[in-house]
Symmetry: C2
Subunit: 133 residues, 2 copies
Amino acid sequence: MMSSSQAAPRRHTRQREAIVRVIQASRGPLAVNDILERAQREHDGLGIATVYRTLKLLLEDGTVRQVILPSGETRYEMSGLGHHHHFQCRRCGEVVDLDVCPVAVLTGTTLAGGYTVEGHELTLYGVCPSCQE
Amino acid sequence: MMSSSQAAPRRHTRQREAIVRVIQASRGPLAVNDILERAQREHDGLGIATVYRTLKLLLEDGTVRQVILPSGETRYEMSGLGHHHHFQCRRCGEVVDLDVCPVAVLTGTTLAGGYTVEGHELTLYGVCPSCQE
DNA sequence: CTAAATGCAAAATCTTTGCAGCCTC
DNA sequence: GAGGCTGCAAAGATTTTGCATTTAG
């Protein structure tokens, strides 16, 4: 017999397409308001509730990943970008993906005290090139 | 002439003493509810608003530091613990301070792309000794 | 056509604030 | 005593949910 819990068919709407496009086009994770504002350029009248609902679906999907920065800002990025970390500019606040991982502990390492490391999250802070001049 | 904005004299109350004692006694950063529950053992009737108000003062003081984990949990620890990072157990959720810094970038380093690094936040995840057995 | 998706507004959660009484100093 | 401090409950801020309507398939 079939599974009794069928996932409801997922529909294609302008709103959802706009939201995904916006996230894909970014070089780093975006805040909900960034997503709302950018997606509204494509689809005026888009409501914040739709953004939240779509993000929730995309999270369950695994399409999107939530990134909470040490400052508490919640952002969203495409998943499947591979292991990477983030850099936030202290002046303009923008967050970009880093392709380096400057963390020297490996999964499986056991630290003094008996803590077994399985993963890590790192955020670097500093000044981005645009804000340097 | 004198400064026109005098800081109000800070009073010693049982509530505040209990809150600070609780934070000092911890081996890692505590959530607001942890602080509330533990401080209520010393001072029953303590209200959540007092905890928030006291934490705010202690933050302004510089006595206490706010730690927001990648999961979004907000916690508080004594400041002046020096440079350190955190380890969170994926089973029990407890967070402890680490005395190691496994991050290989130094302040002042410039990454490819021109990003100047000034600081970093790192959280390790894994299993704590108590949850290993 | 049917049922999922949307937008609005109300609800829920976490944190802050207003206020009357309480407690340091 | 005077004024800061507390606890309660109401107010804010952010995220979630209910509902009537719209719209994809």
